[in-house]
Amino acid sequence: MKLPFTKVLVANRGEIAVRVIRACHEMGIPTVAVYSDADRRALHVRFAHEAVHIGPSESQHSYLDIERILDAAKHTGAQAIHPGYGFLSENPRFARACADAGIVFIGPPPAAMEALGDKVRARALMQKAGVPVVPGTGALPENDTDTAALALAIGYPVLIKAAAGGGGKGMRVVQRAEELPSLLAQARGEARSSFGDATVFLEKFVERPRHIEVQIIADTRGHTIQLGERECSIQRRHQKLIEESPSPIVDPTTRARIGALAVRAASAAGYVNAGTVEFLRGADGSFYFMEVNARLQVEHPVTEEVTGIDLVKEMIRVAAGESLSLPQDRLELRGHALECRIVAEDPRRNFMPSPGTIRGQRVPNGPGIRYDGGTYAGWTIPIHYDPMIAKVITHGRDRADAIARMARALDELRIDGIPTSVSFHRKVMRHPAFIAGDLHTGFLAEHPDLLKADDDPLLDEIAVTAAAIAHYRRLESTAPTPARDGRGVSSWRHAGRIGWRR
């Protein structure tokens, strides 16, 4: 069997680097890891066949340093580079630099990345291709009568947004035509005071939007297929926390329709390799193009579970010039998959980052559980990188089964030594609105109790009993007792944290 590449360098770290290395090893392809000062003992370094140091812990001088990474590839003779997600994965300059160095970049062509990376260009491209975008205007005229006509054409509710804006400043939701003039004035005033520019524009306000995205993959021979959708509506500060496939709201007809839109979007951009077309779905059932993520997504495993396709292997084959391994009509979806992103953030302290040393770790196992992680007991999570440390993925016969498995998996998962989001995820799994599939991107804002770190009252008696025993043992071990061997209490017993030695 001919290998797609004789050696692949993985230009990333953490769980995604491990994920890519696993795919390469299953294909028989030797791998090269790169690492910063903080990552000498990282799991991706340990799993790869070769590892090259590329600089200090700060990512701009290591994982974002194009020169160092290309040097590592040349030094080790890697034929191709997989960028993972984040870091250089959507950087067309990096993709071009790879090509210039004669190294295959496992991802889309730079031109497609550029066309899709610029939101304004992407929106225009999609409109031209007949992919619906959120209806909106350019900068509004001074004349409010003209604006009223534009708003009416879009259809209420509409959203006023500041052209120079961000962070919600100068943003207003207009429910009815009567409200328009005064809210327009407010928005302009706020935009002027915030950005020194009163220019505003209108956009259709999508109510209770759901984040639904379609996975696509294209080969260099003109085939593009879609692999079903994922719903990623459970977000906090625009960070996805829980994803699933299929979406509980998407039926086969809708799936075919948005799948076709996604394929059209990808084709319009000359897209090759794996990518994701993100849509916003309004409460009225309409879908609007948001953007294309021109890379492997964090949440790709849920698609892998329901389709049975290994996306990373498919990416590698396509990058080597092979055809897609299946035509669209052979795609079959089975069951339902969920993913929880475990982050090193403290739910007791408003999700503040909680890097530190993992003292003990137990990963969930058994039927229907997949764990993609980058940590181990003894590993110190660096302060320099993303707080996501692992993904728990479950696959079941239906959504209820996948949720039940996730609840069970989260109960088995143990990460001791640092606070993590596990207790948050566990609460979501038993929340009636989540179980009902009543999702939208404002879900956590609507259910703020989920973000609070209440002590679990079910646990009360267990917790007091356990704490009491631990406390007893601690006091017992610090109490000056006559030593049994007659040598007295030896001094080393008092070094370090007494009674809590490992």
Binding site: S354, P387, D460, I462, T465, A466, A467, H471
Partner: protein
Amino acid sequence: MKFSARAGSAVHEVVVERDNGHYVVEIDGVRRVVDAQKLEADFYTILDLGDSRSYEVSVEPRGDGYIVRHGAAECEVVVSDPSRRAREAGPVGTGPLTVSASMPGKVVRVLVVAGGTVQAGQGLIVVEAMKMENEIAAPRAGRVKHVAVAAGQTVESGVALVEIE
């Protein structure tokens, strides 16, 4: 051994003794005999010999108490024993106030200088970790006596950053 334990809003009176390899734990007068075996640091398997309940718990010391985790559920238990209560009864809140780092990270900006005055809630230091900036504010008004860190420096959680008097 006697102490009080607060879980959530409830405070419980607890008595713990060892008996024949087991623990006798009395909580608010309800007595249970349990077999607790340590599997790893801070991690136990516990069997209630009365009603047969089995549970795994991790009991991590944090601050004045313990974070107890059972499955994915967690609960903070604050324990006070006589000696601790005695210590706590001592003078507090006098003298200069030290503001510490609430998470490990890198100091990206120092917003005050020694000798300057600050208002309660005013930002003192910005620490960054995991691509998130966290501004550490003055818990009360006062004069900055000492700034212990400089921009670019890496700090551990709990490290003193600024002293206010």
